[in-house]
């Protein structure tokens, strides 16, 4: 039994190597542990780490033993000359068959359990269009996913190696290839056209509708949102980043008070939107790129320093309606940041409410002007100073 001895020696060596490797790891961990023993809070850490390493080692040995048993079994069968040992090709084929069944169930389970946890139906006009595109795309891709995987795994299951058989020499078939080029092309053309028109519908809004919408100006900065409503004139006043922190530190948005449109703008602590009225957000950032993301409305647009971006949409469900629809009394719309922006990126939120038009009118009446009396005074003072120098740039230079 020469062969057998060779195998045993080899495996012994393998286990030995593994042991020494892990042993040295344990030792290294011990060294780490001793080095930190002075810090009392890390006491017992070495033991915990050692415990997991030992556990892992046990698993390794277990796997090694199973491997050994398998190869002994394999060899004895070969020696007895019964068959050609374990048919690994067949086993892997069967595993692919099992993967197909388990995988299909897993996909079904994911779709039904985790799929139930995804966003509720959109709370906005364009969002409904996105949702219907979403459904079509999901159905199409799921069909393709399932069919191709049935093919892939069942081929693996059916055609595993056999010495009796030769594979079918089948280098190409132009008709088949034409089919599976043209059919995806047609399906994708349909998707592209739908997507293109939906996208244009969302982003390409006529000038007239732009002006008619409620104007809201959002300034993002690390790690908060500043929101102002346009007030009676429905125009947000100009801003200039060089004015930020001016007027005795009061001008934290950099409002340019030489623009009269600023004086009726309102500062708010939550976004309140009237249902079924078009709103237009003008977005900008003071420092790094942020992303204005309101998933329930299917709204996202980056806030970029140095330029303005826009998103216009019409909410269709009040918070109250949404609470009823989702059966969740605590439901609230959300504004969050979706573009990495620094350490507190994960916590950059702002409250959003959708209410009836009447409630909105009441709410907007209570909002305070963004240009406070103190700011006005500081501005007039600055203007007086600059008038003497006949140079009104002082406002810009603080």
């Amino acid at each position: 039994m020469n062969i057998k001895r060779f195998f045993n020696l080899k495996s012994l060596f393998a286990i030995g190597a593994l042991l020494s490797l892990t042993f040295s790891q344990v030792m290294a961990q011990d060294a780490v542990a001793t080095a930190t023993e002075t810090v009392s809070k890390h006491e017992g850490l070495g033991k915990t780490v050692g415990y997991y390493i030992l556990l892992f080692l046990l698993v390794c040995i277990f796997i090694g033993i199973i491997g050994k048993i398998l190869s002994v079994y394999d060899l004895t069968r070969k020696i007895q000359g019964r068959r050609n040992g374990i048919k690994w090709d067949k086993i892997n084929g069967i595993l692919f068959g099992i993967t197909l069944i388990v995988g299909m169930y897993g996909v079904y389970w994911s779709y039904s359990v985790q799929g139930a946890q995804i966003l509720p139906a959109a709370g906005s006009e364009h969002g409904a269009k996105i949702d219907s595109m979403f459904s079509i795309t999901m159905i199409l891709t799921t069909i393709v996913l399932v069919l191709t995987h049935i093919a892939l795994f069942s081929f693996a299951y059916l055609y595993n190696s056999s010495k009796k058989r030769k594979a079918y020499y089948y280098p190409h078939n132009n008709t088949l290839e034409k089919y599976w080029t043209v059919i995806p092309a047609i399906v994708l053309t349909i998707l592209v056209l739908m997507g293109f028109f939906t996208w244009r519908g969302i982003t390409n809004i006529p000038e007239k509708e732009m002006k008619a919408a409620i104007q809201i100006d959002v300034t993002a900065h690390q790690f908060a949102w500043d929101v102002r409503y346009a007030g009676k004139d429905n125009v947000n006043g100009r801003k200039n980043y060089k004015l930020i922190g001016g007027l005795g530190g009061l001008n934290n948005l950099g409002l340019d008070l030489s623009d009269k449109a600023n004086f009726d703008d309102l500062k708010v602590t939550e976004i309140v939107l009237p249902v079924n009225k078009s709103v237009r957000f003008t977005l900008s950032s003071q420092d790094v790129i942020h992303s204005f993301y309101m998933p329930h409305f299917r709204v996202q647009m980056n806030c970029v320093p140095g330029m303005s971006t826009y998103f216009q949409f019409t909410p269709t469900k009040t918070t109250q309606e949404m609470r009823q629809d989702t059966d969740n009394p605590k439901f609230d719309y959300n504004l969050l940041c979706a573009k990495i922006c620094g350490g507190s990126h994960y916590n950059m939120q702002f409250k959003v409410r959708v209410v009836s038009n009447r409630e909105y009118q009441e709410w907007i009446k209570q909002q305070k002007l963004i240009v406070t009396d103190d700011m006005k005074k500081a501005y007039q003072l600055a203007m007086k100073d600059s008038a003497t120098e006949s140079n009104n740039k002082i406002a810009l230079n603080n």
Binding site: G67, Q117, H172, Q300, V304
Partner: protein, 629 residues
């Protein structure tokens, strides 16, 4: 029958003078031999891959247990994990470096670097690369880049933290986050070295393939691996320089006060002087490389999978020409789709529409490739070597991940999916897992050509099934988190009530990721152990057709001891009817396979066709005119 040109013992002696005196330094360190350089790339790539994987486990632990304290983390990471909890900025650094290492150092250099270097000379029949010295430089630049990238962990303010796409101004303004300090400078330097390395490699690959093919190896006889390496290298050569330009401008903005990307910034209580730049410019420059980059990552893996699947199904690859044309299609289209990363970044929305059209067109060649792979498996005689398992795994990941590309490429749907976990799931499946599986398939398949030994098969099975399951368990649930509007790169899900329901899913994902990571130990052990103690390989252990399997097991300098063999046929004559074995090597002339030749094989050579017809008559063979349509 597989050794026509090389079974000439006198040639072995004759070639001996080629063996210069080799010291340890010239053989293993500053080697100019393509096979050694390939091994250097592979081992460096694997080490980088393991490091990046450990980083991912660290941040997965944070996501699963945002409220727990792990004293071990403080021991290991010191100030980056005070009180045993990751620092939010360090979390972002982990995500950034994980992405950078995986995309560039593992899946670009580790994959292309390894297999282009190993297989191009071996499969086209060349002694070495066109420029061995440049090849060596390419590796050492890559090595330097790797060292610099890892050294950022020892920088006071921590490694770069702006995400692997390092969008300015976050990456350009040191005040914006600790990760934009010196760590970012080193990141940029490392990337420039890396790009220089990949350009040198790429130029070498292209010139070797175009100029140094052996006699008879015309372009349409090349294996798909070589086609994919050729197109990948071309992509790299044309797109990487754009990133260099972008990076240099970013360095200028950071260090010399220019304003290419910066404008109107007020940060840290101070208005910066930069005016007139545009952060969007960076995104254009970055994604002009960044999108081709994902094809640079996946195409070599596709080539490897095609080859491995054909060999192990014992069938010709289905639709060889269609496979090549789809690769060319993907290569061309990949240059005009970069804008789909920018639908909601403030780019002109009309442009978004255009980019959406080009993006979805790219699904057509991808679909062709997938269907052709499936057809290759159909009625095959499949040998499930570990390489084959991983190749099948690649197809599965490519389908699952590719299909979600149809969602994300649609600008309207992207509004809500952009920068969510849906994107994370998508690219980890389609370019992360798929490309890694291609790379691992390549390692198992060509291990004998690198080390002269075979890897343990049963450990390979264990490795495959654990990794395959773990990858799906990790990434499949992420789709649904994305569909619930959970943004990526969030340090914790604890601040939003709506994300509470995903906390338990996060725990599940983390444990699946740990399982996947532990499974890699089976691979690492197998890899290292087999280098020294693996079963000795024969010259052609997989009974494959390509040229590399005609080289001796000893892997000599210059590859073939005698003359370089001549190629007579394409590389996919598996299970050809009429032949006694189920493979015919590329070096076998048609005159030796009269019983299996098809008239199609003679490519219109009438004299040869006549000889064949005469032979057929004499031997009562009637089926050779039977043509596959």
């Amino acid at each position: 029958m597989s050794t026509i040109a090389i079974n000439n013992p006198s040639a072995i002696h004759h070639d001996d003078h080629a063996h210069h005196q080799e010291t340890f330094l010239t053989k293993y360190v500053f080697s100019q031999d393509h096979k050694m350089i390939a091994k250097q790339f592979l081992i460096t790539g694997i080490i980088m891959g393991v490091i990046a994987m450990i980083l991912s486990i660290l941040f997965r632990i944070q996501l699963a247990y945002p409220d727990h304290s792990f004293p071990l983390l403080e021991v290991l990471l010191g100030r980056f994990a005070p009180e045993g909890r990751l620092d939010p900025n360090f979390y972002l650094s982990l995500v950034t470096i994980h992405g950078t290492i995986m995309v560039f150092f593992v899946l670009t250099a580790g994959l292309s670097g390894t297999f282009s270097n190993l297989l191009i000379p071996l499969q086209i029949g060349a002694r070495d690369m066109a420029s061995p010295f440049m090849n060596m430089l390419s590796y050492w630049l890559f090595f330097t880049a790797s060292v610099i990238m890892l050294s950022t962990f020892f920088v006071e303010s921590g490694p770069a933290g702006g995400g692997w796409t390092i969008y300015p101004p976050l990456s350009a303004v040191p005040k914006a986050m600790p990760g934009s300090g010196f760590g970012m400078t080193l990141w940029l330097i490392s990337m420039i070295l890396f790009i220089a390395s990949s350009l040198m490699g790429g130029i070498n690959y292209v010139s070797t393939i175009l100029n140094m093919r052996t006699k008879g190896m015309d372009l349409w006889k090349m294996p798909l691996t070589i086609w994919s390496f050729l197109l990948t290298a071309m992509l790299g050569i044309l797109s990487f320089p754009v990133l260099v330009a972008g990076v240099v401008l970013l360095i200028f903005d950071r260090s010399f006060g220019t304003s290419f990307y910066l404008s109107d910034i007020f940060i840290g209580g101070q208005a910066l002087a930069h005016e007139g730049g545009s952060p969007i410019l960076w995104q254009h420059l970055f994604w002009f490389l960044g999108h081709p980059e994902v094809y640079i990552v996946i195409m070599p893996a596709m080539g490897i999978a095609s080859e491995v699947m054909s060999v192990n199904s014992r069938k010709p690859i289905f639709g060889y020409h269609a496979m090549v044309y789809s690769l060319i299609g993907i290569t061309t289209l990949s240059f005009i789709v970069w804008g789909h990363h920018m639908f909601v970044t403030g780019m002109n929305p009309f442009l978004g529409g255009v980019f959406m059209i080009t993006t979805l067109i790219i699904a057509v060649p991808s679909a062709v490739k997938t269907f052709n792979w499936l057809a290759t498996l159909w009625r095959g005689n499949i040998r499930f070597t570990p390489a084959m398992l991983f190749a099948i795994g690649l197809v599965s990941f490519f389908i699952s991940g590719g299909l979600t590309g149809i969602w994300l490429g649609n600008a309207a749907l992207d509004i809500n999916l952009h920068d969510t976990y849906f994107v994370v799931a998508h690219f980890h499946l389609v370019m992360g897992s798929a490309a890694i599986f291609g790379m691992i398939a390549g390692v198992y398949h060509w291990f004998p050509k690198m080390f002269g030994r075979l890897m343990n098969v049963k450990l390979g099975y264990l490795h495959f099934w654990l990794t395959f399951a773990a990858a799906y368990l990790v990434f499949f649930p992420m789709h649904f988190m994305g569909l619930d509007g959970v943004p990526r790169r969030y340090y914790a899900f604890t601040e939003f009530e709506s994300m509470d329901k995903w906390l338990s899913v996060n725990v599940f994902i983390t444990w699946s990721a740990i399982l996947g990571a532990v499974a890699q130990i089976a691979f690492l052990f197998n890899f290292v152990y087999s280098i020294f103690f693996g079963e000795k390989s024969t010259e052609n252990p997989w009974e494959a057709n390509t040229l590399e399997w005609t080289t001796p097991v000893e892997r000599i300098h210059g590859n073939w001891p005698g003359e370089i063999p001549t190629v007579y046929r394409w590389s996919y004559d598996y299970s050809k009817p009429g032949h006694d074995t189920d493979f015919i090597m590329q070096t076998t002339p048609h005159s030796q396979t009269m019983s299996s030749n098809l008239l199609h094989d003679f490519e219109g050579n009438e004299a040869a066709e006549k000889i064949q017809e005469k032979w057929n008559l004499e031997h009562n063979r009637i089926d050779s005119s039977e043509e596959v349509k």
